[in-house]
Structures are given as C-alpha cells and as structure tokens.
C-alpha cells in the first residue's frame, strides 16, 4: 500500500500509531505521583521528539545510505530556523511560508556547501562540513548580527512589519504562530482521573510532517536512487570504474538531507519563534550523529528512536536535582541516603551527559547496530517461544471453538 511492501507499511503504521498516541504513551504516571518526574508527555518535549526525529531521518539519508559522515548538519538546522523567524518578522505568523522558506533556504545552502565538500570523501569530507558549519556558527554569532542578532538570538518583536499579518494583536501583544488560524501553542488538556493528557496543536502539526518525512525517507530507501546510494557506500571506486559519475547522486542526497534539517529548523522556529546561533554549533551537529548511531544508522526507524532517547535524557534527567534524589532515597538511613544522593547526583541534573555517555558507550560496544539491533535481538529471543506457544494454543483452543 502507498507504494510500500507489507513490512514497510506495517512499520509506517506502527510509527503512525506511536506518534498519534504519544500524549498517552509518554504520560504513563499520574500527575501527582512521585514517578510523574519521568513523564515526557508535555507539548514542548513531544514537539522536540518529532522535530529531532525529522532531523535524524534526514541525516540518516546521507550517512546511513552513502556513508558520508557530515559533521556540519546543524548549520542547515540553523539556516532553517533563521529563515523561518525572518518570515514571521516580515510576512506573517502563519507557519506555512515559514516552513517553505526554511526548506528552500537550507536546500540552497546545502547545495553550496555540498558542491564544495563532496569533492572529497571520508574524513576530509567530514572535516570540510565541520569547518563550514563552524564558519556559519561564527558568522551567525558575531559577524552577521544584523541578521541573526548574535548570542541573544533572533526574536520576533512588536516592531516587526509582518506585511501579510498584523504587527500586534488588538490587546497589544505579539501574535502567535498559527496554521490557518489554529494556534501552535493551544493545548487541550484531558483530565482522566489523576492523569492529565495534553493534546497540542503544534505537536500534531509536527507529527504529521514527521510522518510525511518518514514516508518519503522509506520511499527513498527502497527506490533505485536509494540503491545507487547504497552502491556508493559499498564501493565508490568500483562504481566509478563502471563509468558512473557518483557526484550527482551524492550531491542530490546531501541537498535532500540538508532540506530535512532545514525543515526541522523551520518547525522548531514555528513552535517557538526564536533562533539562536547555538543551534549551529558543532555540538549540535555531533548530537544528530549520536542520535543516528544510537538508534541504528542505515535503519529506517533507528534515527527516530535515537532522537527520542537523547531528547528524553536532555529534558528529563537534567531536571532531577538533589532535593528530588533526597526524596527518593528517604527510606534509607541518613548516612546511606547522603552517600546515595552524592553518588547518583553526578548522573542526573547537569551530569546527564555522563549517563548518556555511558549509555552510548554500552550501545556502541554491545549493539553496534544501535537500539534497532537491540530490538531485533529481543524479538529473535522471544520469537521461538511464541511459535511453540502458538502451536500449543492452536491445539488447545481449537477444540474449545
């Protein structure tokens, strides 16, 4: 269906279900319980999950298929954000022109950088992209401050023209980003018992775009073009000797990948109209590499999982402070409590990087294929038993029917 084979279609359906039901799935604990700390079902984080999912899907198209490791993808994310915010400043608060502009701008930018960087392969390509991204970051940070507003970040103000929209609302505040009048920030809160599930317009807009981006990526993976990209990854030299010029293919996928990053940047700005230079920093480029490898490079769902895990750590673990820890270990005698708090303190709060680093190390060492490989191993482990069970079930349940 939709031009996909059965396996891919089921995968798409699974992703669809996960994304649509995310407000429930990510909020498993009642609001007032101690475990509510681990709930991730609030609009901002859910938006980040899908937006960085898009970013990682796009990165995976380049890295997973061709093996070209770009260390400068954050530059495209930044360009997308800046273009989107400028659209909000100049045109209107509708997200449609902003997203279109961010994709086009980052596509053009990727074409420029790709044209130069793709003359080299391997480590030289990585260094070139890193250099370009760092240049873009420095330009945004301190040279192009009239366009980017430097470290403070580009924000919308009450003085912006917004020629197709309004400069200020009737009550004198800055208008909010919207899609055909539906405000991105509006959230419907469903109280079920002690649970509070949040359904946010912005999240579902991002989610719809992410599903589309995921679908397009599946199609690219399964297309002749995708096959050609895999051939490049397998052996460039042999491909060259068969008389094929690989550069149009690599440049095309580089630009597509850059446009995905730009789309993610545009969506980030649409959810929260601000663009900061730190979005372009090399750490941000490194983050998407981590996401892809953690989830499983070259797999369809891996990058999305990786993005989810890293964002979860960044937003949930970083907020566990020592007073929270004290309440967790309150059942222990005082000395042991202090010791436990002292030790675990280094792994949460500002130390969340450490926990993530350990997890990354474990995954890369024991599951080189990322979380997806972990999932496959688990399912292989359980598959044999269910088969036996199924056989027994059928023998037992048939008579009952």
């Amino acid at each position: 269906m939709l031009g996909l084979d059965r396996k891919d279609f089921i995968l798409l359906l699974v992703v669809f279900a996960l994304v649509v039901l995310a407000p429930f799935l990510l909020n498993p604990f009642p609001t007032n319980s101690a475990m509510a700390q681990f709930n991730a079902g609030y609009p901002d984080l859910m938006q980040r999950f899908v937006i960085f999912g898009i970013f990682a899907i796009g990165f995976n198209l380049l890295f997973g298929l061709t093996g070209y490791l770009s260390f400068g993808h954050a530059a495209f994310l930044g360009v997308g954000s800046y273009s989107a915010v400028w659209m909000f400043k100049l045109l209107s608060m509708s997200v449609v022109p902003a997203i279109i502009a961010s994709v086009i701008a980052s596509g053009i930018f990727a074409l420029l950088i790709g044209y130069i960087s793709l003359r080299r392969t391997g480590i030289y390509f990585s260094i070139l992209t890193l250099a370009f991204a760092q240049m873009s970051f420095n330009l945004a940070y301190s040279v192009l401050t009239p366009i980017t507003n430097g470290e403070t970040g580009l924000q919308i103000t009450l003085a912006d023209p917004r020629i197709l929209g309004v400069t200020a609302t009737e009550s004198g505040s800055i208008p909010v980003t919207n899609l055909l009048g539906a405000e991105m920030r509006s959230t419907y809160i469903m109280d079920v018992g002690t649970w509070a599930f949040q359904f946010n317009v912005g999240y579902y807009v991002c989610a719809a775009i992410m599903l589309l981006a995921f679908y397009v990526s599946v199609r690219i993976f399964r297309s002749p073009f995708g096959l050609m990209l895999r051939a490049i990854k397998a052996n460039k030299t042999r491909l060259n000797y068969t008389g094929l010029n690989i550069r149009p293919y690599t440049l095309a996928v580089f630009v597509i990948s850059g446009m995905y990053a730009g789309l993610a940047g545009g969506l980030m700005a649409s959810m929260d109209p601000l663009a900061g230079a730190e979005r372009m920093q090399w750490t941000a480029s490194g983050e998407v590499v981590l996401m892809t490898i953690l989830g499983g490079a070259g797999t369809l769902i891996g990058p999305v999982l990786g993005a989810g895990v890293i964002k979860y750590f960044e937003n949930i673990f970083s907020k566990i402070n020592s007073s929270v820890l004290e309440s967790w270990f309150a059942f222990m005698p005082e000395n042991m409590q202090h010791a436990a708090v002292y030790v675990s303190e280094h792994f949460v709060g500002p130390g969340w990087h450490l926990t993530l680093g350990l997890l990354f190390m474990l995954v890369v060492t024991f599951l080189p294929g990322g979380l997806v490989e972990g999932g496959q191993r688990l399912s292989r482990l359980f598959r044999r038993k269910p088969q036996k069970d199924a056989a027994r079930d059928s023998t037992q349940s048939n008579p009952a029917e």
């Binding site: 901002d44 940070y141 470290e151 970040g153 004198g172 469903m190 937003n315 500002p350």
Partner: protein, 453 residues
Amino acid sequence: MSNRLTRRGVLRTGAVAGAGLAVPTIFTGSSARAYTNEPTGSSVTLGFNVPQTGPYADEGADELRAFELAVEHLNGGGDGGMMQTFSEKNLKGNGILGKEVKFVTGDTQTKSDAARASAKSMIEKDGAVMISGGSSSGVAVAVQGLCQEAGVIFMAGLTHSNDTTGKDKKANGFRHFFNAYMSAAALAPVLEKMYGADRKAYHLTADYTWGWTQQESIQAATEALGWETVNNVLTPLAQTDFSSYIAPVLNSGADVLVLNHYGGNMVNSLTNAVQFGLRDKQVNGKNFEIVVPLYSELMARGAGENIKGIPGSQNWDWKLENQMGDRYTGTNAFVQSFGEKYGFPPSQAAHTCYAQTLLYADAVERAGSFDPCAVAEALEDFEFDGLGNGPTLYRAADHQCFKDVVVVRGKENPENEFDLVEIVEVTPREQVEYAADHPMFAGGNLGACNSGA
C-alpha cells in the same frame, strides 16, 4: 491474517473500542483554567531556571541557594530572613495565599535555546506559575519573551543589560537588578576622582546584548568626563583564553582597559591582562588601569590576587548595612540566615533572586490572586523598603527597579576569602535615574499583560 477476522472478534473489538471512546466522556473533568497554570491544589509551583553549567555556573549555583532559602522562609521555615525587615507585612510564613510553595529547577546552560526549553517544561509539565533566575541577559531576554507568550510572570534574576527593561521589555517581566546605564552613571564620577578626566580607554566587550549595552553606557558616561575611547573589541561569550585580545591593548596607546565581561569571562580576561603585566605599565605618563564595570564577590574570589584595587559597581553587597548604615536594613537579616544555612555570605546574584521571590510572593498576597495580570498590576509603581537596597521603586513604565548603586573596589588586604571587595561609595538613586524613553532604552514596548487565558 484475514482468516482471524471472525464475527465474534469484530464484535469484541467493537465493544472494547466503544468503551474506550466512552471513558473520556465519563472522566473528563473541566479543564477551564482562568489563567496559565492556575494553582488549584494546596500548593503552588515556582520555576527557578539558572545556569548550572557554562561561564556563569557559579552565579547560578548561588542563585539556586537563595531561591531555596526564600522558599523555606515563605513556607515558614528558618528565621524568616528579610521577611522581617520588608516594609510590607503580608507574608506570614504560611506559603503564598495559604498555599505551600514548591519549586522546580532547571539548567539554562547560558544558552537561549536550552533556557527556553527548560522554562517551557517548567510551565507545561510542572505547572509553574512564575519563572525566575537567569544570569545572562541574552537568556533573560529570551525567557522573558517566552513567559510573555505563555502567560506567566518572569521575575528576572541577575541580568544587567539595558535591553531587558529597554528594547526587549515585556509586560509580564520584572527586574529588580540594576542595569548597565546605572553602573555607568554611578561609576563615572568615581573613575574621574581616581584616574582623572584625561584618559584613553580600550574596551573588551562580551559579544551579546549585555556587553553591547554595557559598553555603550560606559563609553557615553566616560566620554562625558572627557575620556577618549581608543577601541572596542567584541569577544565571544564562550571564550576562555583572552591572550590574543590583550596583546593589541599594549600597542594601542590606551591607558585604561575596560573589561565588559562577567563571571568566568571576566575572571579569565582579568587574569590574562595581569599576566601580560598591564597593571605595571606606564602609558602616556600615567599608570595603566583596569576597570570592571559589573563586579561581584564570586568573580573577585575567582580572580584572586588580580582583583586588588580594581573598581566596579554592584547592585548590593553583604557588608552594606554594617558600613553604610540603617538605610540598607534587611542586608544583615539576609546575610545571617544565608550564612547559617550555607556557611558563607551571599553574592549579589543570590540577593536579587531572594528579593525577587519575596517581591513576587508579596505581590500575589496584595493582589489576592496568582493571575499574572493582577500580580503585574500589584508590582507596578510599587514602593518598598527593607530588602537591603534602601527605598526602592518598581517603575510601571518599564518594570525596572530604581535604587542606590554600590561602587566597589578590590580590597588590598582582605581579611578572609569572603572579604575581597570594599565599598567605595554608594551612589544615591536620584543620580542613576533616567527617563523611560532614554535613547539607550528606546525602541521597545511593554505590550499588554498576558495571562494565557
């Protein structure tokens, strides 16, 4: 798969799905909230968003200590601190409006993006009704904008840029801390007294909103004295080694170096400058001098020996009441309860955060509601005393506090590691006041208060 599709299965699935759809209509309570995060239970949540990593991490840690102390006092713990000296007596130690105060913390990483993400999760997930903190003006401006959009109150912590209550001011944002213009106005006469009216200044400036307005203010104030500005070089906030910026100073013909740096930045740039022997130099027949317009005890501690004799300005100092008298009542009460809890005197960052928390709590009590618009109204043109700075006004036109400014200098012979700064003089409030439409603050608009309803 299709052979599993039986009539019974379809019926069963249908019944389950129907029941599932019906559940929400049974349990769904009314979600109508009068304003963002209206506290309905027995407690109210405040969000403290401070830098725990990056160049301002020391300030952030001290701010967090002050917030915890303020919450303890509001809930009736400890000795009550400045609640005893505060000119308003609405706070009884029973929380705010009888609701127990709870708080959540977050790390801004001194990055606008991360700070906004952290503040958003406080508002959306933890139900914070007020956000406070911040130790970088770039972050403060970004978070203030977010709070305006979300409909919660932002009580700015340490933010010194003119823009926070100037070009980027917001109706939901309030600042107790002083600003770059006030620093310059207070510092200029002292600089003239110390170094004369014929000086050539070289500026190193942190490249973001605070650095820009700080440099602009100091340049304007010193040029009014007759000083000449030789050069202004912008340095990235993430910079840790300033050697390459210091070397050109030596050949520029300048005889004063103004370091528009703060926190870890300032500690590093000052150390580099001293290592290059700038302070032992004679230029134009005068001793070479270094000025650090925005000062703090924490920075002085970081810079150690190098800070001796270097002048700057502060919002508040823990020795204020002892040295300058009863006008600054509240100082000792705060220093005592902070010192008892943590074992050392508080920094000005801690002081402003503590004061902001009390001011917010008091405004809620006076307004009788947590509604941001009611709280904002209670804070506007509010005159108070007893929070350590003397009589203070929260001006309605730009939500900026006006109070005396402390001019300080690195102490030559400190008695202990907390006594690194000596007070040179206190500049009275009248001398640092300005019109709300002053050119350095123009271009902004408070807009309308947003309660998120």
